[in-house]
């Protein structure tokens, strides 16, 4: 597997002169491989957002280095590298600049001097990828939250990035909107080699990732596959996180004296296990 992005021993403090202040992130190292979906989870103030800003060069580390596509991120290559990274933020209402959906998606393309003909094709393609092509001429404020975030994803995709960073992109959506966005990301990953990095509080979302990085107080606490991570159970709760619903229900059922072969990540498995382990059916 090829590395696409990595942080090597990265430290950043918002007030570097004050040595008493806890650093926002300290000694962080991890690697993201090409085509992976990584979820970064952690309590408020654990350094998740600082990390996102370090990854796309909004901040530069005071110690260590950030490598993207084999190059160390610096002031010179910043713009070239940033064009390889799409970013979608938390609030769907704060990231619209265009008067219509297609204007909005075209905005970054215009900024990057893409020829008009090419631009039209790319706008259509990327809206089709998020299933929003029917809304080409809609005004953004008439869309639902989930639709707005899909348009924001299309705007990022139009630049054909290698990496898509979702910074709590589903946290302000209703359950239906969240499902729409996650289904879109899931589909994109099947169709393209897109690398996805999602920063999230939503453990159900983290469950979909290939790998989870758990942050705690500015440091990487642990990383692993969703099943490795959630097997830690109570330990995660102590870090201010939670457990996915099916896992929580599994533990509660065990405490009720119900036999189970193991704890489960999905409701299907849980219900099936309740049956086979107790009724031999």
């Amino acid at each position: 597997m090829n590395e696409i992005l990595s942080l090597q021993d990265v430290t950043y403090s918002y007030s570097p002169e004050d040595s008493d202040m806890r650093k926002a992130v300290e000694g962080i190292s991890f690697t993201v491989n090409d085509g992976e979906w990584i979820a970064i989870v952690g309590h408020n103030g654990s350094g998740k957002s600082t990390m996102a800003k370090l990854m796309n060069g909004l901040l530069f580390p005071q110690e260590g280095e950030v490598r993207v596509l084999g190059e160390t991120l610096n002031e010179e290559n910043l713009w070239a590298i940033r064009s390889q990274m799409g970013m979608v933020f938390q609030n769907p209402d704060n990231q619209f600049v265009g008067a219509t959906v297609q204007d909005d998606v075209a905005f970054a393309l215009e900024n990057n001097g893409i020829p008009f003909e090419d631009m039209v094709i790319r706008v259509h393609e990327s809206l089709a990828q998020v299933k929003m092509e029917r809304f080409l001429n809609s005004e953004p404020h008439h869309l639902s939250g989930g639709q707005k975030q899909r348009v924001a994803i299309a705007g990022a995709l139009a630049l054909k990035p290698r990496i898509l960073i979702l910074d709590e992109a589903t946290s302000m959506l209703d359950p239906q909107g969240r499902e729409e966005v996650l289904a879109t990301v899931h589909k994109l990953r099947q169709d393209t080699q897109l690398t996805v990095l999602s920063i999230t509080h939503d453990l159900e979302e983290a469950l979909l990732a290939d790998r989870i990085v758990v942050m705690n107080k500015g440091k990487v606490y642990t990383e692993g596959t969703p099943s490795d991570i959630f097997a830690r159970g109570q330990e995660l709760v102590e870090l201010g996180l939670d457990l996915p619903f099916s896992l929580k229900m599994s533990s509660l059922m065990l405490a009720q004296g119900v036999s189970l072969e193991s704890v489960h990540m999905s409701e299907d498995e849980l219900v099936k296990d309740i049956w086979t382990s107790n009724f031999n059916k």
Binding site: N44, S171, P175, H201, I274, N278
Partner: protein, 289 residues
């Protein structure tokens, strides 16, 4: 304080080409001391409704009764100040409204505006900081030096400092981590149980509505289409689906369990603990039979 909406309608930009009907014939009674959840799809009118609850918006049709105060369409209302002190609203991302030099001053701002003496306002601020689980040192800090979760608490303390008897919450936990979310929801629940506060929770989270509320109302396309006890509302999956909502996860799991079991459980479970208990009881009974 009882709150009652009678045939309330509201149109934005009324009388202009941009007129948009946001609420239509909304009827809702929120008795004093209840925990009312208001749920609904994005754009269903929840936020417009919420702004009627302390007269930030006045109905363009119908009547809003806030305790003794009656706000009728097309009639002027005087002296809204007392009702705004009694009904506190915590807006979405309330930390964006923090502004003062120190946390202490920020929390005291509301009560001072309502004529509370400075020493009393300070006493309230200190007590609230403790109650919200913040360290005492934050009082002298700038609110902008705090973490997101702490800022949220300070903003909530600023509303509680006015000692409202009704607390209106618009997605109060959005953006918080799971622990922060739980702590804040538990705090509101304590205020409801111990201090008898009326809580009105506007939320996307069916889980929170199911766990905490004793009344649930559904908004859909500007109308209040369904209201009742959580067991009725969340047990009615067909209606929920028609309003583009889904039942809480516990309810969905209960239904799958019932399908396999072949008969329904005695009641609808609205919390994980309750469902585990009920399923556990049945499994033990059936297994050892």
């Amino acid at each position: 304080m009882d709150i009652e909406l009678q045939q309330v309608g509201y149109a934005y930009s009324k009388g202009t080409p941009f007129e948009k009907q946001a609420l239509t014939d909304v009827n809702l009674h929120i008795p004093s001391g209840s925990y009312q959840a208001i749920i609904g799809h994005t754009g269903s009118g929840k936020s417009t409704l919420l702004q009627h609850l302390n007269a930030l918006l006045k109905p363009t049709e119908g009547t809003v009764k806030l305790g003794d105060l009656e706000i009728q369409a097309k009639k002027k209302v005087k002296n809204l100040k007392p009702v705004r002190q009694k009904i506190g609203i915590v807006f979405q991302f309330p930390e964006h409204q923090l502004f003062d030099e120190t946390v202490l001053k920020d929390i005291m701002f509301g009560p001072l505006n309502f004529g509370v003496p400075a020493d009393e306002a300070e006493r309230r601020a200190r007590a609230l900081v403790e109650q919200l689980g913040l360290p005492e040192e934050v009082l002298e800090k700038s609110p902008f030096d705090l973490s997101g979760g702490q800022m949220r608490r300070v903003a909530i303390a600023g509303v509680l400092a006015m000692e409202p008897s009704v607390l209106v919450l618009d997605e109060p936990t959005a953006g918080l981590d799971p622990r922060g979310r739980q702590e804040i929801m538990e705090l509101f629940h304590r205020l409801y149980v111990e201090k008898g506060l009326t809580i009105i929770l506007v939320t996307h989270s069916m889980e929170d509505a199911a766990r905490y509320a004793n009344r649930v109302a559904i908004m859909h396309e500007g109308r209040c289409v369904l209201s009742g006890e959580p067991e009725e509302i969340f047990g009615d999956e067909l209606s929920l689906a028609a309003y583009r909502l889904s039942a809480p996860r516990v309810v969905r799991l209960q239904r799958r369990f019932e399908t396999l079991l072949g008969y329904p459980l005695d009641k609808l479970c609205l919390s994980e603990e309750q469902l585990a208990f009920e399923m556990g009881t049945i499994v033990r009974k059936e297994r050892d039979f």
